[in-house]
Symmetry: none
Subunit: 415 residues, 2 copies
Amino acid sequence: MIAELVTTGSELLLGQIVNTNAAYMARELNKVGVDVCFQTTVGDNRARMKEVLLHALSRADLVITSGGLGPTRGDITKEVSAEVMGRGMALNEECAARLRADFARTGREMTENNLRQAMIPEGAHIFVNHAGTAPGVAMERDGKLLVNLPGPPSEMKDMLHRSLLPYLAEKYGTIAATVSRVLHTFGIGESKLETTLDDLILAQKNPTLALLVRPTGVVVRITAKAENEEAALRLIAPLEKEIRGRLGNFVYGADKETMEEIVGGELKARGLSVATAESCTGGLVASRLTDVAGSSGYVRGGIVSYTDAVKAEALGVSREMLAREGAVSEPVARAMAEGARRVLGADIAVSTTGLAGPGGGTDKTPVGTVFLAVSGEAGTVAEKHLFTGNRAQVKFRASQAALAALGGYIRKCGK
Amino acid sequence: MIAELVTTGSELLLGQIVNTNAAYMARELNKVGVDVCFQTTVGDNRARMKEVLLHALSRADLVITSGGLGPTRGDITKEVSAEVMGRGMALNEECAARLRADFARTGREMTENNLRQAMIPEGAHIFVNHAGTAPGVAMERDGKLLVNLPGPPSEMKDMLHRSLLPYLAEKYGTIAATVSRVLHTFGIGESKLETTLDDLILAQKNPTLALLVRPTGVVVRITAKAENEEAALRLIAPLEKEIRGRLGNFVYGADKETMEEIVGGELKARGLSVATAESCTGGLVASRLTDVAGSSGYVRGGIVSYTDAVKAEALGVSREMLAREGAVSEPVARAMAEGARRVLGADIAVSTTGLAGPGGGTDKTPVGTVFLAVSGEAGTVAEKHLFTGNRAQVKFRASQAALAALGGYIRKCGK
């Protein structure tokens, strides 16, 4: 069963609000096996909305609208829907009574235009709105189903779960479940990933595989369809195992897990405390580590050393080394990590020093150059990176690399 | 001129990500008078994408896609676009050279599939990608224009502003302008703002006024329509002046200006250096200060003191005070700011200490309690706040309050 979501409203077309309804409906419908293949947004314009609904009904079996069920003249979705389904509209006394009772209960005055919400396409199935006033409707013709849901997210969500999903399950039986598992990688590019997983990508059918570029790194998405969620997860498991086997430590987490949570969990599990010494990331590594609830159990603290003076005085980096090597150098990154570990009394420390740009680049040290180091009982290791992107991107990528290096050090050398 | 936006990608159809690109493109295109009447989302499916593009070209004059320009097999937007415009594809040597140079510069290995990005529809106008690798293209046929932009938001935005908007302006001339001016406030609530601006909100016509709640605080949006941008700005100016007059220092910036840029500008203008001492914000204040290009000119550094030991040893807060007052207290906030100023040798320092949650709250000090202080030549001032929200929101709101307090101190006491 192919579905199209039609979201209506000028505020969406003008870009004044982001279309979170479409994403939410798509996610929930996919979970129960409804294949959302198209999403369309159109304004409160009668001719255009009619064209969009007719076209949607021509290419999808199930068309679900959201928006335009309110009491004002601009709310035309139900009317236009009735028209394309070849039905008249009539006042529904039950809906009208419910509206009147609702207004009386909340002590609001009910103006005449509110009764528009009780006008229902003939023969339509009615979804009561438990989170607002506008009822939803479902209409069938020639094996196609057209559903109108309200636009306010709280009303749409309530009606979707309370009425629409049970209605679809009763009508079509349980269809299937589409479940995705997302593996987060770091340190491997999109093309290299594709080459590594090429045969799996070519052989994909169910589950399917996709590579997506995210600010945190490339993610591998495994999507399976099956009769229910458990069966879909059973299809995903062996493929996930194979991919994790090939990618090894490039995979750092899955689904909603973040790098800072993963690293935090590893610190916590080993009873290790951590400190930071940051130059180019300017506190972002410490901020991300402390984004995790409970991080006060293992974060000692950090020093943002944006000047040579602070590197020397607060972290104990020798002035002679700073002069000889330059602040953006491997020896300074090492000395910063060692200094933070010592000064802040942590088991392990991570440092960053680099050029976030946009200014300050040279041929020898272009913008995006970042040295980072991790220091602990097993010694100090350092890495050199060259990141692309603007200042914010270089900062974020450097923080991601620093956290990844910290995690790698713990796994290799931690207790 | 009627436009349709076509965003592609299974992650949108599956609802795994919210379609922020469509909203952004719609907003920017409306600003220059392009009437976005339809937005459609389709997956990386050749037949469906072709149908969507053909239908879009039948009802719109300008069709702009976003997504599917990457190097992998799943990236088919450019190919399908060429097909519906009746063009072949050929390797573009300039694009290929640019790709090779980019990979060489960043020391990454260029695999063969990357060259797919240099395959260009015959006769297409090329938009160079300054924020990534995939070039965009524009193709014309029968008075219709089809444009392919990349999917990653940073690349799409850069190409939209740098290449597409100038290209459209040159091709069609300036059409009309809807211009918005956004005033950022901090420290004043939505209802208070509405009361203060009540008569202006009631009298609005052109420009219109809207109050919107953002993570940074409430913003006042003034929107004017006119024949061009300058005329719209002339309509906005007197209303902005009136609003600024009423709101005084509650307004800290406008449009894209951020609190960290404003405060940074004030530090720079007065030749003052700054340092941070952070507990509950965990480095976020320093990270935000260093998000600003050129901040190395005034940021000395910072200390993230997540434990009492670091507060005592690195910042010199007395252990007796920590035991007596507790780490989340005004005296400790003051001592932290004074310590950071002294230890890091800055003209002015800002501190935060509080409970970001979710755990650790007591009746006396509930989650969301934050003390902050600013210390400088004119002495030390402190504030107490109680923020609502989850851990990330409390952290961000505390960082915003700290930066606002820093800005206030500079304006009042700075040289």
